[in-house]
């Protein structure tokens, strides 16, 4: 099967040579590979966008997971922002709160769209709906945001990994944040090359992040990692738009992420055996949720 790109270098080259957006290259590849029409493909992505909108909306009303570990933080953030005294700025906090909203819905077994996974589903929509308020994109531009994210995610999934069990959280929230950064750049009018710089800058700052969910639940620390992933991507997009470049090329950063994931011990790859899951409080929470002997007093 013919692919239009296999790595970020090819993706950016094709976009720049043909004077196309990255989202356009992704759409064309999708048409080629799946033999479906542009209309069908756009329609499917439109539906995914709607699912994301609904999840954010639901999360901002306040949801709680069965375990009681997560929920309600998106509401807290929105209420705090409404007071007008936030330090990090409204756009950034809006992105954070919407990322949190999505992951709180996910933790509560609500309906979400995986981007690229469920545990990292908050970052892409969180940033999209926050940046939307500043850039006022059309519906089509919002759909394109998802294709641009998808183009970079496609490269990561095929050349490294998007699985926490295989590569740690860097493969999930790391990938999601980097994908979002690239898409923000395109929506803000940056070049394909700038998208790739934003991707690389974000991913570099997510390298080494382990997957250590307390009690094996996609809650602690997943929800807050999505929050900070979203913050990371907005800042990295700004850096790239300002002209800051990554010294290490994007594809090599992805390669490094893969290598780091390979050498990560299994205890830190979604087995709930190491990291935060293995802290006294982490273990105490696990025993509390699933029963069994409660060792130590927790908090």
């Amino acid at each position: 099967m013919e692919y239009l790109f296999r790595n970020v270098r090819e993706l950016v080259e094709r976009a720049e040579q043909e004077n196309k957006l990255i989202s356009e290259v992704m759409i064309e590849q999708e048409m080629l590979v799946t033999e479906r029409s542009r209309e069908e493909i756009m329609k499917q992505m439109d539906r995914n966008l709607t699912v994301m909108e609904e999840a954010v909306e639901k999360g901002l009303k306040g949801v709680h997971s069965v375990s009681g570990l997560t929920g309600g933080d998106a509401v807290l953030l929105q209420e705090y922002m409404a007071k007008g005294n936030s330090l990090s700025g409204d756009l950034l906090l809006d992105a954070v709160s919407k990322a949190v909203a999505t992951n709180e819905v996910n933790a509560a077994m609500g309906t979400i769209c995986a981007t690229p996974t469920a545990g990292s589903a908050g970052v892409v929509p969180g940033t999209l709906f926050a940046v939307k308020n500043k850039l006022n994109p059309t519906r089509e531009q919002m759909i394109r945001f998802l294709f641009t994210s998808g183009a970079f995610g496609f490269v990561v999934a095929n050349n490294a990994s998007i699985s926490g069990a295989a590569g740690g959280c860097q493969a999930e929230v790391g990938s999601a944040a980097a994908m979002a950064a690239a898409a923000i750049v395109e929506m803000a009018g940056g070049t394909p090359q700038q998208s790739s710089e934003a991707f690389a800058i974000t991913m570099k700052n997510m390298l080494g992040l382990v997957c250590d969910p307390v009690a094996g639940l996609v809650e602690v620390p997943c929800v807050k990692r999505n929050a900070m992933g979203a913050a990371n991507s907005v800042v990295a997009a700004d850096m790239a738009l300002a002209g800051v470049k990554s010294r290490i090329p994007c594809d090599e950063v992805i390669g490094a992420m893969f290598e780091i994931g390979q050498s990560m011990p299994s205890a830190l790859r979604e087995t709930a055996k190491g990291g935060l899951a293995a802290t006294p409080t982490g273990k105490w929470l696990e025993a509390k949720i699933f029963g069994g002997a409660v060792v130590g007093s927790g908090r």
Binding site: M1, Y3, M26, Q29, E30, V33, T34, E35, I41, Q44, M45, R47, N48, V105, N106, A107, A108, M109, G110, T111, I112, C113, A114, T115, P116, T117, A118, G119, A121, V124, L146, F147, S149, G150, A151, G153, F154, A157, N158, S161, I162, S163, G164, A165, A166, A171, M179, P213, A215, G216, L217, V218, E219, S266, R269, E270, T271, A272, K273, F290
Partner: protein, 220 residues
């Protein structure tokens, strides 16, 4: 390329909380159900690696049963699949295993009813995408780069010719094909990787062929 479509990355639409441990698990269950061809009466599910360690937290068990009940990843009924299974009289058991397997998210599903039983091994490779690695003890070596058809059939002459003729009729090109059997004259398996997507009509026609037990498509 293991991930071919942008919707492998932006998608699936699913019930939380985990694409690999919930959506992927549901899909593994659903492929098993599809291969079995009808609602199984019982299921024994062996979980390995991360699946074994964290299945409760991710609702992997609930999702696999949902898949065995033919629910898609976004079907709200996944949440209550245990109750639904009970209503249908399907008995099930989860067995966390300690042994090493190649992939951290591996499940072996053994299902059956009064007529027959079937064993299938599946792995969840991230973002909800899955691969089937073994069927009834036959290792499946699928590249994952192309759509594939699995045909379980009686080991009789003419079966392979009939299947390839049918694909030829619909202008579907075979890229790679493997045939295997356990014992002469008993159950056999064809694994066919094709270049084109196989639609329902073709699947139906394949099922109608003589000595064909089960037909399913995966990885498209």
């Amino acid at each position: 390329m293991k991930f071919k479509s942008v919707f492998d990355i932006i998608g699936p639409v699913m019930i939380g909380p985990s694409s690999s441990h919930t959506a992927g698990a549901a899909r593994i269950g659903r492929v098993a159900r599809d291969l079995f061809g009808r609602q199984p009466k019982w299921a024994k599910v062996h979980l390995y690696g991360s699946f074994a360690e964290t299945y409760k937290g991710h609702s992997t068990d609930v999702a696999i049963i949902g898949g065995l009940l033919d629910y898609d990843t976004f079907d709200e009924r996944i949440k209550t699949s245990f109750e639904e299974a009970e209503k249908l009289g399907m008995k099930f058991e989860f067995i966390p295993e300690v042994g090493n397997v190649d992939h951290p998210n591996t499940a072996r599903i053994v299902i059956g009813d009064e007529r027959t039983e079937m064993s299938m091994m599946g792995i969840s490779i991230g973002g909800g995408k899955i691969e089937i690695t073994e069927l009834n003890g036959f290792p499946l070596r699928l590249s994952g780069n192309h759509p594939a058809i699995l045909v379980v059939h009686e080991d009789r002459s003419g079966c392979i010719a009939n299947v390839s003729n049918c694909l030829y009729k619909y202008d579907i090109n075979i890229g790679h094909m493997e045939v295997s059997r356990k014992e002469k004259g008993h159950m056999a398996l064809m694994v066919i990787e094709v270049d084109q997507n196989v639609d329902k009509e073709v699947m139906e026609e394949l099922r109608e062929l003589p000595n064909i037990t089960q037909v399913t498509r995966i990885a498209d």
